[in-house]
């Protein structure tokens, strides 16, 4: 067979190779020469090393002798294995565990000093130990701390004192020793450490620098230039997607809280219906202290909010994820995070302009979003430096006096109103009469110059002022009052605003006017109670009245919407409250006395009522107190009864409501009568009717559903029907309101006055409800 007469095919790894023993192939020698056709495989060694004598000898020895001879191996430097002190050095036995050893991820429980004492230290230690006891470990800890605290500069003695909580003498001696030792030490540290790389790249070729950090370089295929660009694009895309994710997540949260709010509102209505709290009185008292809270709850569902809510959220975490801002992305195609921060500073201002009246604090009081939550979708690329981390709750704590104790609703929990029996706090005992005075004020007309009893003022359509008259037992006396006696200086003048007076159906208990009148007057003059007289336009009236009206004027062309508290100022209100408390105390005392003296007597309604029906204790008590407040002595036969036709009407500046529900409003006026009746019939059949105070400010919380409420409560209806109706109506309203809501919010913002914070919050609740 000619050696080179043919070319061998390439070796195919997938082709079966038959295995022969040499003895089976006597003619094999012929084939050997073409063995070369099989490609030579590289040895995988560095070439210059392949040539080394020892290796070559070993290889050839192997090939020749096939493991027969042992003497041929590659010599290596010798190693000894006869350390005599080994057993003394490594003490103790280690029993082999039955199970395979599994190490806990967090190994050492406590930090042991890396510093190991040497014999030099030992002599010092021995010297020191003559004076005091210093354990080697303690010494090592000290040295360790000193070492680790000092970088290029040695720790000073002062710093060392802070660092080591040791006796002065000991500290001084160890410190001095350490400084000396450190100066003599050749290495950079007394604890030998691997040289670290330096940032400037000067150590790139230093052979002693090891374990450099791998720079985060994209691992793309080397030959494709565009891979880097596309990789970057992918990164960007991912970042944007994660941002979208978090935005959607926030929207989800928002919608959930909207739904929760709706459910809660429905629940409130239902509960109120069950207790028969048609006037919103109980609700008021429950919500009054929570007024602050309500504000925040409201902001969750700001009408014009889907966008700027997210903004707010982000803003509240300004230090946090900058690039999360949806606008920042848009505004910043280059993805320059630093620049996007600047943009941030503008945005809030803009927002403030839109809603100047919005209480600043609301912005911070967004529902807490953990930065972690946001971050979880956030692709953290190596290039970005870490943000200065601040605890997520920080912005909230600053403005929330309750701090961590602040009440937060928990999803899935239903919160019931406090039971009436428990409500014996003074706050609860504000009686109807009190409320009468709180919501209404003594009013004088300037054209027929006379006093017209107690009224509450509200704003009608087109800015007309509507005075809702309330009858009280003092009416007769009040009517005779000279309006000028309150403000002698103010001239009589005609109010420009047309006044429509709603006449009340009254079954008010009469009290003996002679007792009350003098006190009444003095009270009013002492500003304990409010007094209102339509202010003449041309006149600069003095006194307290002025304040209010000025504020009204200040609020611009839009007439004052929330006339609820009349012209009450903050001080007035406060003093009034104080007085109430005082009076309540008096009442309690008296009650106590009376209960003691004549427990069986019917003379005191509260007693009676409470025995009749526990749940109505409050009402009767307050009714009693109302009476006593006005007249000091309660009338035995008659109960004070305040029935208000307009009680249901929302008065918290709802132009919009007026706008949207004109018919409802007018209907409300007429319908609320039946409502009251319904309540009194469907209620507990008590002789004590519910007092429905006129347009009390707090009532506006309820007013959200009130239009529907009024419509449907005309018929006696089950709470469920009510619920449905309110849902329907609220849903109905969504589309209508949304476009106008932004404008409305501005208008509302302008109307806002600082002392009516609570009110605003409530009115915002209304708005929020409309959005849901």
């Amino acid at each position: 067979m000619s050696k080179l007469s043919f070319r061998a095919r390439a070796l195919d790894a997938a082709k079966p190779l038959p295995i022969y023993r040499n003895k089976d192939l006597p003619d094999l020698t012929d084939c050997v020469s073409i063995n070369r056709a099989v490609p030579q495989m590289p040895t995988g060694m560095e070439k210059e090393e392949e040539t080394e004598h020892h290796l070559q000898r070993a290889i050839s020895a192997q090939q020749v002798f096939r493991d027969k001879k042992e003497s041929l191996f590659i010599p290596v430097p010798e190693a000894e294995s006869n350390i005599t002190y080994y057993d003394r050095l490594y003490k103790g036995d280690f029993r082999i565990p039955k199970q395979l050893i599994h190490i806990q991820p967090l190994g050492l429980d406590y930090e042991l000093p890396d510093y190991d004492m040497d014999s030099e230290d030992e002599t010092l230690l021995n010297r020191l130990n003559r004076k005091m006891e210093l354990k080697p470990m303690q010494f090592e800890i000290m040295m360790d701390r000193l070492e680790k605290a000092s970088t290029n500069q040695l720790v000073t003695l002062q710093e060392a004192k802070l660092l080591l909580n040791e006796d002065d003498y000991l500290l001084k001696s160890v410190y001095d020793y350490w400084v000396r030792k450190r100066k003599n030490c050749r290495g950079p540290s007394l604890i030998p450490q691997i040289k670290q790389e330096k940032r400037d790249g000067s150590t790139n070729n230093d052979a002693y620098v090891a374990f450099r950090r791998r720079t985060e370089k994209m691992q793309t295929r080397k030959n494709r230039k565009n891979d880097e660009a596309s990789y970057e694009k992918m990164l960007k895309l991912r970042r944007e997607f994660s941002r979208t994710m978090s935005i959607l997540e926030m929207i989800k949260k928002r919608e959930k809280s909207k739904r929760e709010l709706l459910h809660l509102t429905l629940e409130v209505v239902e509960k109120r219906y069950q207790i028969g709290d048609y006037s919103g009185e109980i609700l008021n008292e429950v919500t009054a202290p929570l007024a602050e809270k309500t504000i925040y709850a409201a902001t969750i569902t700001l009408p014009n909010g889907s966008r700027h809510k997210t903004e707010n959220k982000i803003k509240s975490h300004k230090s946090g994820p900058k690039h999360l801002h949806p606008f920042a992305v848009k505004a910043d195609p280059h993805f320059d995070f630093v620049r996007s921060i600047k943009k941030y500073n503008k945005r809030p201002k803009l927002e403030m302009m839109c809603q100047p009246g919005r209480p600043e604090r609301r912005l911070e009081r967004q529902p807490i979003i953990n930065k972690a939550d946001i971050k979880q979708y956030d692709f953290h690329s190596s290039g970005e430096e870490d943000y200065p981390l601040s605890p997520a709750s920080e912005p909230d704590e600053e403005n929330d006096p309750d701090g961590i104790f602040a009440f937060r609703r928990k999803a899935g929990c239903s919160y019931h109103a406090p039971l009436a029996e428990q409500s014996c706090s003074p706050h609860w005992q504000q009686t109807d009469q009190e409320q009468l005075w709180q919501r209404n004020c003594l009013t004088a007309l300037s054209v027929p110059r006379r006093c017209i009893t107690v009224t509450s003022r509200r704003m009608g359509r087109g800015g007309r002022v509507v005075l809702d008259r309330t009858s009280s037992d003092t009416d007769r006396a009040l009517r005779h009052l000279d309006p000028d006696m309150f403000y002698p200086s103010s001239d009589s003048s005609l109010p420009d605003l047309p006044i429509r007076t709603n006449t009340d159906s009254q079954t008010f208990s009469r009290t003996s006017p002679q007792c009350s009148l003098a006190q009444l007057l003095s009270d009013i003059q002492a500003s304990r109670w409010k007094f209102f007289r339509p202010r003449p336009v041309q006149e600069n009236s003095k006194g307290e009245e002025k304040k209010v009206t000025q504020q009204v004027e200040k609020s611009g062309a839009v007439p004052l919407s929330n006339s609820v508290s009349g012209g009450i100022t903050e001080e007035q209100f406060n003093s009034h409250q104080q007085q109430l408390v005082q009076m309540h105390k008096q009442l309690k005392q008296r009650e106590l006395q009376q209960n003691l003296t004549a427990p069986e007597a019917n003379s005191y309604p509260p007693k009676t009522v409470s025995s009749e029906c526990m749940s109505k204790t409050l009402d009767s008590a307050s009714a009693h107190f109302a009476a006593s407040a006005v007249v000091n002595t309660s009338n035995n036969e008659n109960r004070p009864q305040i029935v208000s036709v307009n009680g249901i009407l929302p008065n918290a500046g709802n132009f919009r409501q007026a706008k949207l529900n004109r018919s409802a409003q007018s209907g409300g006026n007429s319908d609320s009568g039946p409502l009251v009746r319904t309540s009194s019939t469907s209620g507990s059949q008590l002789s004590v009717p519910q007092s429905l105070p006129h347009g009390h400010s707090h009532l506006s919380t309820v007013s959200a559903v009130s239009p529907a409420h009024t419509h449907h409560s005309a018929r006696p209806c089950a709470p469920s029907a009510l619920k449905l109706a309110s849902v329907a109506s609220s849903l109905d309203r969504v589309s209508k309101v949304n476009p106008t809501s932004a404008i409305d919010s501005i208008a509302r913002g302008e109307n806002r006055e600082p002392e009516r914070l609570a009110l605003n919050g409530l009115s915002e609740t209304t708005v929020a409800m409309e959005v849901t």
Partner: protein, 534 residues
């Protein structure tokens, strides 16, 4: 013999006395790498040419044969170290670079020819260039696997003595070039490659640490590599010679005490520099912490309660255990282990951190604890089918079958992973021998066990062998080849088992007591790609 008048400086070559294995005197040629002027007498650090670096040592002047002293040439002091690269398979860029390096060497040695110097245009040519330069060396240039078929054209010249005079070398590179292989036009990749520049580069690198041979702009393909001095970030073996400078060429630690052993390091290791002057560096046997004195070690042992490598034991049979250590989670231990291993592994790089590696530490148990015998490291994700990055049996345990056990274990892991693997290149001489031996035994085991079915000859494909053993196909082929098993017979390839081979194998297997028992392996591979960064 020491003659103070003769100035023996770095770079000089001369025969140096050394004892061989049989304790006979030899005078191999050696190169002076460093001179230390100790009070009283000088010491010379010598590298015995054509012996492994691990035998380099400090010698007293009386061991130098000054009569045959060769002074260093002005240029290219150690071209063998600088210019030549391994025969291991490498990527095209590296080939290009290598060839460029070679060109530089040539330019430097004969600058006048710089302009006319042919430039490689394709890889094959770069290979050829490498071949012509290394023609001086007795080993065939073994090109990258991709070029295997082309490269096989160049026959191996095994017997040429390596040491040639400078002129001879030059002559070889100029005249010995097979002209047909060299393109007449300059290559595209070296537009900026002017002679002056090259010379300048060379002069700048006139010391032995000729780190940068790359010329500006020439490395367009490899631009993503950034600073050319930094090694590639995958694997743990150096791929270029940037750190092959005088510092790393010299052992820096005299002696290491580890447990009951005293080890003489073979190579440089970047232990803190202040510790390199110590006569003995003490290591904690279990956590491998390095301390400067016995006292420190004593103190350390009062605090160190480790009695085994700080990882999970994934294999135990008899006294042999394997522990898996994550280079990211247990940095301190991994670094200490690497520092120790570097003392015995020449091409290992500690340039980068240990994060992308897992360390499998083999231990032997005795009542004192689990004593480290050897280890191998493995990339968590290897793009090149590497199942071992570095592998080492500590010297006291060498030549007792532990190395093969480590290798076997590494392949057992690959079997569990269901893929084939190969050790990262370059292999050391000992590594090559161990792996070849392991491959041979493993493959022969399979071949001998094959029974003929229904009267026909037993047959097997290379792929099948690869699948069964998890040895990468290329390694199977090279082993078959090395064992001379592949023959061409009657129009097809066959595997022939000579009696010699069979006998040798049977004897070897009798001696191989230590085996991995796959049943004792408790290992679940992790998908590191899903775990973010390593």
């Amino acid at each position: 013999m020491a003659d103070p008048s003769v100035d023996v400086v770095e770079g000089c070559r001369l025969p140096v006395l050394r004892k061989n294995q049989d304790n006979e005197d030899e005078w191999p040629l050696a190169e002076i790498l460093s001179v230390k002027d100790n009070p009283g007498r000088k010491l010379y650090y010598v590298h015995y040419i054509d012996f492994n670096k691990r035998l380099d040592e400090w010698v007293t002047p009386d061991r130098l044969d000054l009569k045959k002293l060769q002074f260093p040439k002005k240029e290219a002091k150690t071209p063998t170290k600088n210019g030549l690269s391994g025969s291991r398979p490498s990527s095209p860029e590296r080939d290009v670079r290598k060839s460029l390096d070679l060109n530089n060497v040539q330019c430097a040695s004969a600058p006048s020819r710089g302009k006319t110097l042919p430039t490689p245009k394709r890889k094959a040519e770069s290979v050829s260039l490498a071949t012509q330069v290394t023609a001086a060396t007795p080993v065939p240039s073994l090109p990258s696997s991709a070029e295997a078929s082309q490269a096989s054209v160049f026959p191996a010249i095994r017997d040429t003595p390596f040491i040639k005079s400078r002129d001879e070398h030059e002559q070889l590179t100029t005249n010995g070039t097979p002209r047909r292989l060299i393109p007449s036009q300059p290559g595209r990749k070296r537009k900026n490659c002017g002679t002056d520049e090259m010379v300048k580069v060379f002069q700048n690198n006139n010391s032995r640490c000729s780190t940068i041979y790359l010329l500006p702009g020439e490395d367009s393909q490899d631009s993503s590599d950034g600073i050319p001095t930094a090694p590639r970030m995958t694997g743990s073996l150096v791929s270029d010679r940037s750190h092959d400078d005088i510092v790393t060429r010299m052992k820096n630690i005299d002696c290491i005490e580890l447990g009951r052993h005293r080890l003489k390091p073979w190579y440089f290791s970047p232990y803190p520099q202040e510790l390199t002057t110590l006569p003995i560096l003490y290591l904690c046997e279990f956590c491998l912490k390095y301390v400067k004195s016995l006292k420190c070690l004593q103190r350390h042992l009062t605090k160190c309660n480790l009695r085994h490598p700080p990882g999970n034991e994934i294999y135990r049979k008899g006294t042999i255990s394997f522990f898996e250590i994550d280079g990211r989670k247990n940095k301190a231990y991994s670094q200490n282990l690497c520092l120790l291993a570097k003392c015995f592994l020449d091409h290992k790089t500690l340039y980068y951190d240990t994060d992308p590696f897992l360390f499998y530490v083999m231990t032997e148990y005795d009542p004192k604890g689990f004593h480290i015998v050897g280890y191998f490291s493995k990339e968590k994700e290897s793009t090149e089918d590497y199942n071992v990055a570095c592998i080492l049996t500590l010297p006291p345990y060498q030549r007792r079958g532990y190395g093969k056990l480590l290798i076997e274990f590494s392949y057992e892991l690959s079997k569990v992973e269901g893929r084939t693997g190969t050790p990262e290149k370059p292999l050391s001489d000992l590594g090559l021998l161990s792996y070849r031996s392991y491959w041979s035994q493993t493959i022969l085991e399979i071949l001998m066990d094959l029974k003929s079915e229904n009267g026909e000859r037993p047959q097997i494909t290379i792929n099948e062998i690869s699948e069964i053993t998890s040895v990468k196909k290329e390694d199977v082929i090279s082993t078959l080849q090395y064992l001379n098993l592949i023959n061409y017979y009657k129009g097809q390839y066959i595997l022939t088992l000579s009696e010699e081979i069979v006998d040798g194998h049977e004897r070897a297997m009798q001696k191989r007591h230590l085996r991995i028992d796959p049943k004792c392996l408790h290992f679940t591979p992790k998908d590191w790609s899903k775990r973010g960064k390593w």
